[in-house]
Symmetry: C2
Subunit: 647 residues, 2 copies
């Protein structure tokens, strides 16, 4: 295993383009809007433990996790963009958390205020450890961003409490959370504190999962409930919904709730790395293949069904009823990043990039204040989405949700996005993603300045320099190292130059080319990734996409949106051949490349009355305009489709 | 309005073919199996009112309606096929009903035994009047079949009770049932008894529907419930689920629960006829057009969504998740028959025939002992239906249901099917449907003997004779009358001969041709309906069928079933051109015509790994075999599709 070290987001500045503008909107619009939502809905007041029966805004078991993710996001933002006002809000929330914590370290606004007698009695459903995990992530983020250890201290005390309550020793509970999260959080807490107990506790939680007798059955019996009464649709084996049907190392397929699955797999990858655990690693690889080869939307979305917010069966990827929860797509991003760091494999980054530019970026509006929970690949239009309380209609971003996990999840990812761009290892430096940015590899003494219009253009320039450090008046003039440049899976042709001289036949290994030489300050590497529009076809076992085609350019998946056409987009079809044009539209949807080309329109208007006829519908030639999927539903409401009829 | 009189099923004998064999299986297998189910599940014992809390088989509010429909079906069967053993079972059930009836006439096994204090307190949900209606239909059927008036007497007393409880006078309830049924039943009860009060009560129930203040709100308040707490998905206006959002005469579109809608529309057609009510008739025509022009499956199924067991929005006809409940398709048959009788319009019979041969006939297996509740137009196969508790899989007929409305509904329709074949009016005799049969028009003194292999062949011979009556030793030698022969909507070319002589240019009026002459005994009319295989295409606003084609021959809709192919049927496509062959298979599925022709197979096997590629799936030429939709799922379990990819 390569065990690469991702370059922390604090060492990376986004300087222009797609992610810079997303991050700016996140900082200026999303973070304040989400704070206000947490405040107005009672999530912050819940921390004061003063709710009384009958009063509004009754605390909810999930609430602390929303607050925690906002804290984490705000902390990341403070690290790159200090902001006294935001820091004041953060400190205020932390003071409330500190005050709420019990003597023994326990901290949960719902259980302390609403159901103190039920503490740790229903790990399966009640998200107690899940909330704790998100607060731990927030604590680590805040400590690293500000150096202040208050929240970290609070969460260490809570972790210590959990470490006393849970474990294999007599008197301890051998349980684990129905919604995974604390496992990966404890790994982070270990990273920030060096406390090995936290890592061991993460391992304990993963190792206990699926053990017999089943903890969820035992605790249900202890509550006096029928342990068989729970029912989860789409479960192949009992407790598959929680990825707890069998021990983690024996998992053969992605199953159940998609976000839970992703967070568990992240922890498994972390522990595989920390403990050199080959069985966990093998399980990760097996699950990765199953997820991405049979259960992945073109948009990088996963978890196709609303019924279980998760996986159904192989090759089942409905478009109109796609769930593809923003949190699941973000979880896939987290997992992919870890798998890449473990292995150095570029194919993990291909999936990560697919998710980021499509099913994750779609999760938030361009104004930063509206969010998708589920990221469907088709939506009905033509006025037919107005009256229907079903899967087909009413699919538009909203400003908040009762269970509002997705909005702050986007916020924390976007605020720390720089951390996904670069990495380093024994064999040199890695450029994972292309985005206009500056990256300081402090340990290696290298500053990379990346200039590019990616994803709208495939040309990338990297300038190498050596920053001064300590008392030096100038940096060194040469440094020898290997520079790994990712060649994305979508790219079928590329060329690379160093200082204008073409590099002959760079060998593509595991998704990367490596340039090794003594670099001097001012060296310029130019990478040109051919980025034509491609027609994409789907595996014929995905019945929903038979006879359909999609459009992709670079990492960006496109869609047809009703507002750009005078007709329902479902009635447009595009031929398998025929030239497709692209055009840069600087003023459209924050600046995008659109794709245009010939289409046929299957016209309801010329069909006449009646539903069925012995002659095929008439088609009329027309043209289409496709926009990036991630920016749909930012204009007039209407239909959308990613997969378009061929013909 | 023509006000035709359907020839009663007791005057029609099915002598060979499709419906004869269905009726025989119904009599020999279905009726005994359903009696056993009613017995074993406690439905019959419930009538003894002896259930005690904690005992098994707790009576259910719907149960009496299942028993009632079985009684009705058995009575019809007794009328055409006397059977002492069956009559004994029928009499036994009737004795239990008679004994159960209360002094005041009330009769309901659930309310009398389980919740006596709740009688008439929740008309919206509890199906009390619905059960009463089905028992009234049974009583009329039994009286007409056997001449015995016991059950009729019981139900007259119950109707009288209902007539005292409900009405516009002070102290009466101005309510109506959440599930329509009693309205059409009261019309039948009036027909059998001549009691005008029953007809007026039917009219009262229809007229009250949707009146403000809303009865369902008032009774909810009286129960101490929040009247706004009920929620029905897909409702465009409150109480649309019950067709009670507005007065019946103001209904503009089919909405809500499909079976309820059909039963109401039947009653509206009945009352339009009985009272010459033009506003009710106009509403029926409006609703008919909306139902059949925008909401009708190719199979004659209606009600596309499981969520409300009903209608969603125009042109929404999903295949895999189609609901198209057997009862709804039967209800459409009832309604179509009434609309035809009112108007003489053949287009109503086109829809009726479409439903009968497809979405109704599919409701029961060829062995008569297994039933579909929902009649989907596509099902997943390839082993992928084994593990999934969702819409896509596990779609096979079952031997009974907790709410088992469909099985006895099929039984009563099949047992009385002869009644849909012929009619008469002032302008002569009508042949509505083609089936090998004998029909005695007693009033006109005409016996029609129909010989045909329809629906497998379009040739029909009708022989005219004049039966002897009274003391006559021979019938008359001539009778002048007009004979109307239906030319089905699916038929694009036909010819007609009388005694071998071609009739020139018979005029097609409203779906019929009329032959008028002085007929003599032994005259033979031969009708030849051209019945080629047709490719059928769907209105382009039905997004689920874009790019798809179906096959139909005569009234029979075809499908591809996995058992006939070595591949998942979803991966087959058929070209828009190319010869399609038919073959008569006497030993297959009870004797069917299959359709065979060239197809392309989109092969998952040659695709390789990964979900997405820039080249279209490879296709391989192959052949397909299509079978009638109504007989699918009678062999090895597997996938099925009605709508096939074009290409």
């Amino acid at each position: 295993m390569k065990n690469l070290a991702p370059l922390p987001f604090t060492a990376v500045a986004l300087t222009e383009g797609f992610w810079k503008s997303r991050q700016e909107v996140n900082r200026k619009a999303t973070l304040p809007a989400e704070y206000r939502q947490c405040d107005e809905t009672g999530r912050l007041a819940a921390l004061d433990l003063a709710w009384k029966p009958g009063a509004p805004n009754k605390p909810h078991p999930f609430w602390d996790s929303d607050t925690a993710k906002w804290l984490e996001a705000a902390s990341y933002s403070l690290a790159t963009h200090p902001d006294a006002a935001l820091e004041g809000l953060v400190d205020g929330v932390i003071r409330r958390l500190e005050k709420a914590q019990m003597e023994d370290g326990y901290l949960n606004s719902y259980f302390q205020n609403v159901a103190p007698e039920k503490r740790w009695t229903n790990l399966r459903d009640q998200h107690e450890l899940y909330c704790a995990g998100h607060l731990m992530e927030a604590a680590v983020a805040h400590f690293r961003a500000t150096g202040k250890a208050t929240l970290l201290g609070v969460m260490r005390r809570f972790a210590d409490h959990i470490d006393r309550v849970f474990g294999p020793k007599p008197g301890q509970k051998r349980g684990y959370c129905g919604h995974e999260e604390i496992e990966l959080a404890l790994v982070k807490l270990h990273g920030a504190t060096g406390e090995k107990r936290y890592l061991d506790l993460a391992k304990f939680f993963v190792d206990e999962r699926g053990r017999r007798p089943h903890y969820f059955e035992e605790e249900a019996k202890a509550r006096g409930e029928d342990p068989g009464a729970r029912h989860r649709s789409h479960e192949r084996e009992p407790f598959g919904y929680y990825q707890a049907g069998r021990p983690a190392r024996d998992l053969m397929r992605v199953e159940g709730h998609a976000v839970r699955a992703m967070y568990l797999y992240c922890a498994m990858a972390d522990l595989a790395r920390e403990y050199g655990d080959r069985a966990l690693f093998a399980a990760c690889v097996r699950l990765w293949r199953h997820a991405t080869e049979k259960n992945l939307y073109l948009t990088g979305g996963i978890g196709s069904s609303k019924a279980n917010e998760g996986f159904t069966f192989d090759y089942d990827l409905p478009n109109e009823t796609a769930y593809a929860e923003t949190c699941a797509n973000i979880g896939l991003t987290f997992w992919a990043h870890r798998m890449f760091a473990l292995t150095g494999g570029g194919s993990y980054l291909d999936v990560m990039e697919r998710a980021l530019y499509n099913g994750v970026a779609s999760g938030v509006s361009l104004d930063g204040r509206h969010f998708f929970y589920d990221n469907k690949l088709a939506a009905l239009g033509g006025g037919r989405d107005q009256h229907v309380d079903g899967a087909a209609g009413k699919h538009h971003r909203r400003d908040w949700f009762g269970c509002s996990c997705c909005p702050p999840n986007v916020a924390r990812l976007f605020a720390s996005l720089g951390g996904y761009l670069y990495a380093s290892g024994k064999d040199g430096l890695y450029v994972n993603l292309y985005a206009d940015s500056r990256a300081l590899f402090a340990e290696q003494g290298v500053l990379l300045t990346q200039k590019t219009r990616y994803p709208w253009d495939g040309e990338v320039t990297l300038e190498i320099s050596f920053p001064k450090s300590g008392g030096q008046t100038k940096g060194p003039s040469f440094r020898a190292f290997k520079l790994h440049l990712r060649i994305p899976g979508w790219c079928r042709s590329f060329s690379v130059k160093v200082n204008g001289m073409k590099v002959a036949g760079p060998k593509l290994v595991d998704g990367f080319i490596a340039l090794e030489r003594p670099w001097k300050a001012g060296d310029r590497v130019t990478l040109d990734l051919a980025m034509p529009v491609e027609r994409v076809y789907c595996h014929p076992s995905v019945r929903q996409n038979l006879g359909r085609v999609a459009l992709q350019r670079g990492p960006v998946v496109y869609c047809l949106e009703e507002v750009d056409h005078k007709a329902p987009v479902q009635n447009l079809s595009i031929p398998d051949t025929g030239k497709l044009r692209t055009a840069w539209k600087p003023k459209l949807l924050g600046g995008i490349v659109v794709i245009q080309g010939p289409a046929q329109y299957s016209s309801p208007e010329t069909w006449g009355k009646g539903l069925y006829q012995p002659t095929a519908p008439k088609t009329h030639p027309t043209t289409f305009t496709a926009i990036p999927y991630c920016v749909w539903d930012n204009r007039k409401k209407g239909g959308m489709t990613v997969w378009i009829e061929r013909g």
